[in-house]
């Protein structure tokens, strides 16, 4: 590790805010890219299951 202590790591010779904001925003963006489709999948499956149940109740002879 090139940094002697945590303070130095956060400060980064005066460039700390730029580096950390870049990484922070990127992590948030990547996390959103990952979580959004997972949540969407859950909502989709729930929706499809509900619709399937409703259709099954409506005309039970077909199933």
């Amino acid at each position: 590790m090139v940094f002697a202590n945590l303070d130095e790591l956060l400060h980064m010779g005066g460039h700390g805010p730029y580096v950390w904001v870049s990484y922070g925003v990127s992590v948030v963006a990547l996390a959103w890219l990952l979580v959004a489709p997972l949540l969407r999948r859950r909502a989709l499956l729930r929706d499809i299951a509900r619709r399937a149940r409703r259709d099954a109740n409506r005309n039970p002879q077909e199933d």
């Binding site: 870049s22 963006a29 489709p37 299951a49």
Partner: protein
Amino acid sequence: MWAYLERLWHRLGSPRHFYDLAGWWLPWLAVSSLLLLGVGITWGLLFAPPDYQQGHSFRIIYIHVPAASLALTGYFAMAVAGVVVLVWRMKMAEVVLQSIAVPGAVMCALALFTGALWGKPTWGTYWFWDARITSMLILLFLYLGVMALGSAIASPVLAARATAVLAIVGAVNIPIIKYSVEWWNTLHQPATFKLTEKPAMAPEMYWPLLVCALGFYLFFAFVVVLRVRNAVLEREAGARWVRELAGEGR
């Protein structure tokens, strides 16, 4: 061998098989991308030596360069999928085309944002109308157009075909845009500002970049596959296998 490839192609063309096959890829993509990203970012952030001119601000490169490269690759991938959509009418290409747009636009925005933050300590300004920055901004506009058109058309098939046309037209335009912006920049360039990359990076700076870039690409593929699977579920919502899948509860 050929027969195997042909079978694979046909399986990829069928939504259900694609869904299953992609589901098998998912864990590999998840583990490899997150692992590489973790290693690459830790390496770049904590262990790579500081640049002798830029100090620590150069560490932004480990996000900036992979994001910028993916933004461009993503757009061309959309255009290739667009050709497949229009020529072969392949269902899965339609889905892939539309699943790339949002992650690609996010990468493009990320490249611009990190570039601005890198610019402040390096050149003393967040934004500069440099040829490369401007081209990236226009690429973001192209992405926004594709996204807006895709969400404005209700029928998924027609939306995919319309965005296919737009993605292809945009991809044909990208080299022209790039050339025009470079020319425009030489006309208006003030002499005091010069953005050039150093010819060679030290290996201890270069290796983490390579790991990060690979991690970003795999992560992008991972996210696109997740989106593709969602889109397949949405399109095939009436099919028996989708209903059974949903009925099983996850």
